[in-house]
């Protein structure tokens, strides 16, 4: 696979009131050029933390383990080792926006209340693409039109708070795209939206990605959304990727008990008479992480003496699929 981003053994820990917690442990994934990787998991599973690490946006209390690697293939073909860049250095600033763009759940967070959206877009375009003011403005209008904002010539001089929720979300996407990133990180961009607008935004993002040939990391807890937009999925639980592979295969044939549980928990219109099936138990708090397999405290198929003792290894199926579960390892199968 022609990977634009390769993350290996990413481990991040924080010091908090509750002691040192490690929200990300040995996370490895790849994003192919022009492909979409979906990161799925419940809140607290470390989806957002791992992508913030890619942008070097973590607070100072975060510690990235020394053997973590985050290699990004820049537009000019060089490989940037993100973990080695100085925080807030020039290289990091060039990376943010210009190479890797980011959009959030709350669009107001991306916009300054004192600048029009045009101001901010023009600035981003000039900074990252070196265009003149007039050209940049034309480009910004073009981009607003691309994300489906009607009469972009007028809208460009509005403030974000003058727009409706769906419009704002589109404007935020336009802002992130205007710097011309090769990789877009979308952190729950549709979670706060109504279904109709969510459908529009998903359609829009899928279309734009095709047009621009951009890679994307799409973070969400909604497998329904993932099914619509992602080529590949990585399912996270307590800071570890428990299963990854092509979206269709994972949804058709989930191998990890947690992925199976997540899929079964989705309320479906096809089975209105059945009780919903939540994954049993609660997510352990960061300080009470189980030994061995992190999921074993909620797993119905846990093997005593193995799952509670040893962290499962990653078992691969074919070229693209991998699962971290003893049930799919030789040793686990013989123990069960």
């Amino acid at each position: 696979m022609d990977a634009i981003l390769t993350v290996e053994n990413l481990t991040i820990s924080f010091r908090t009131d509750e002691g040192t917690i490690t929200p990300i442990q040995n996370v490895s994934f790849q994003v192919g050029r022009g492909k979409t990787l979906g990161l799925v998991g419940e809140s607290g599973s470390g989806k957002s933390v791992s992508t913030k690490a890619l942008m070097r946006l973590l607070p100072g209390t975060a510690m990235i383990a020394p053997d973590s690697r985050m290699a990004y293939r820049a537009k000019d073909g060089r490989t940037i080792e993100i973990e080695k860049l100085a925080r807030n250095g020039k290289a990091v600033r060039r990376l943010r926006g210009g190479e890797i763009g980011m959009i959030f759940q709350e669009p107001m967070a991306s916009f300054s209340p004192v600048y029009t959206i045009g101001n901010q877009m023009v600035e981003a375009i000039r900074l990252h693409r070196g265009l003149g003011r007039r050209q940049a403005r034309a480009e910004a209008i073009d981009m607003l039109a691309k994300v489906g904002i009607s009469s972009p010539e007028a809208r460009i001089d509005q403030y974000a708070h003058e727009m409706s929720g769906g419009m704002r979300q589109r404007a935020m996407i336009a802002l992130a795209l205007s710097a011309g990133p090769a990789l877009l990180i979308a952190d729950e961009p549709t979670t706060a939206l109504d279904v109709t607008i969510q459908a529009q935004v998903l359609e829009l993002m899928g279309g734009l990605q095709q047009d621009l040939g951009m890679a994307m990391i799409f973070i969400t807890h909604d497998l329904g959304v993932i099914a619509q937009i992602a080529d590949e999925v990585a399912v996270m639980y307590l800071g570890t990727i428990v299963e990854r592979g092509p979206t269709k295969e994972i949804i058709r044939d989930p191998k990890h008990p947690y992925t199976q549980g997540l899929l079964e928990a989705i309320p479906s219109l096809e089975s209105l008479d059945h009780r919903l099936k939540p994954v049993p138990g609660d997510i352990p708090s960061p300080g009470e992480r189980p030994s061995g397999c992190p999921f074993r405290s909620r797993c119905g198929q846990a093997i005593e003496g193995l799952c509670d003792k040893e962290v499962p290894l990653e078992t691969t199926f074919g070229a693209a699929r991998a699962v971290r579960c003893w049930l799919h390892e030789e040793r686990g199968r013989s123990a069960a």
């Binding site: 908090t16 009131d17 002691g19 300080g287 009470e288």
Partner: protein, 386 residues
């Protein structure tokens, strides 16, 4: 999760895990104040400042015991005398207990004025808990014992004396009490006013709020110094020092409330629509219960921060007023009064030790500010929890 298992050999990890669980349990059951204390404790500078202030407060409270002499007691043998620093060694050798040299009077060869100079031949040893003037500590106990002094009835002036032979150390200690207590009382008065006025404005809202806001603004724009001057000038000359003292605290308190009142009002207004307050309302709670149980506790920590931060202003106002002669007047002693005596060039030149009280003012103000900073960081233990 509750009890530690009895007996049996346990691995290191198990013990560590058990300890961690206990610690977490403690964290989960910790109340607001415990959380604030835990966070405040991590703020080193604030802890140091708090310790310094604690010592100052103790010095003030036990002034009669700590100070070797009364604030107006004169030592006519040692006028404008420099600080006497206890030492262990001099030209005649060393000793185990600290001592100072005696004092003899000589004439200045140039001005022919009588001046006090140390007499290296005479050694006076410093003792602890000697007998001295009879004083009443805390208004309760009568004692002759002081914290320290000189043996054989000698007089120890740690930080020198002023032109009337009064001990600067003792006066500073007494002044600490006056100045800190004016600060406390002034802040208390303005706090009570602020709580009532801001509370009414914030809880009722609407027209009442608008009216109170306008009055607050009017009071805020009155220039303070001329106002204080006018009020201080209106104080009858024949008032006793105690009366003047209380008048001062009331004046300071009466004009200190607007900032705090606004703060309380805005806090109330923002908390009024919090989901948990709405929940309490829907549960049928009466307004009194809503305010006392749900609203007040959620911003008391902020109020405390504001109170701590407003202390220095009170202290500085008192000091400033007394310094320009409008506040407390001798024979009362406060930091301002002491500094007023240190105004002239002659003092700077000949008796610089009269400036020692200024160090107290600076230290106290800095300490309050640093504590305020630490408290502000700790005041909302739930801000990061989300």
């Amino acid at each position: 999760m509750t009890a530690i298992k009895a007996g049996g050999p346990k691995s290191k990890e198990e013990r560590a895990a058990e300890k961690e669980r206990q610690r977490l349990l403690k964290y989960y059951s910790a109340s607001q104040w415990t959380l604030i204390w835990w966070r405040f404790r991590r703020h080193r500078a604030a802890m140091v400042a708090a310790a310094i202030l604690g010592v100052m407060a103790l010095l003030g409270i036990f002034a009669e015991f700590v100070a070797p002499y009364g604030p107006t007691t004169r030592d006519t043998n040692y006028l404008d005398g420099p600080p006497q620093i206890p030492m262990f060694c001099d030209d005649n050798g060393c000793s185990w207990s600290p001592f100072i040299h005696g004092v003899k009077t000589e004439r200045d060869p140039v001005t022919l004025r009588a001046i006090s100079v140390p007499d290296p031949e005479q050694r006076l040893y410093v003792t602890f808990l000697p007998q001295g003037e009879e004083v009443t500590v805390l208004g309760l106990f009568t004692t002759k014992t002081h914290l320290f002094g000189l043996e054989e009835g000698g007089k120890l002036h740690l930080w020198g004396t002023d032109s009337l032979g009064r001990d600067v150390f003792s006066r500073t200690i007494y002044a600490t009490r006056t100045s800190l207590s004016i600060g406390v009382l002034g802040v208390m008065i303005s706090f009570v006013l602020a709580l009532m006025i801001g509370g009414i404005a914030g809880y009722s809202g609407g027209l009442v709020d608008a009216g109170i806001q306008r009055i607050t603004e009017i009071i805020r724009v009155i220039p303070v110094i001329p106002l204080y001057m006018g009020l201080a000038a209106a104080m009858p000359k024949e008032w006793s020092t105690t009366q003047v003292y209380f008048a001062m605290t009331i004046i300071l308190g009466l004009f200190g409330w607007p900032t705090l009142a606004r703060r309380i009002r805005s806090q109330l207004l923002s908390i009024r629509n919090e989901d948990y307050v709405v929940a309490a309302r829907l549960a049928g709670a009466k307004p009194k219960r809503i305010i006392a149980q749900h609203m007040l506790p959620s911003f008391t920590s902020f109020i405390i921060v504001d109170l701590v931060i407003s202390f220095p202003y009170m202290i500085l106002s008192e000091t400033a007023l007394s310094f320009v002669g409008l506040g407390l007047r001798p024979p009362a002693v406060s930091w301002g009064v002491l500094l007023q005596q240190a105004q002239s060039v002659r003092v700077i030149e000949q008796t610089p030790w009269l400036f020692i009280p200024a160090a107290f003012v600076v230290i106290a103000v800095l300490a309050f500010t640093v504590i305020g900073d630490g408290l502000r960081d700790a005041a909302d233990p739930y801000s990061e929890a989300r």
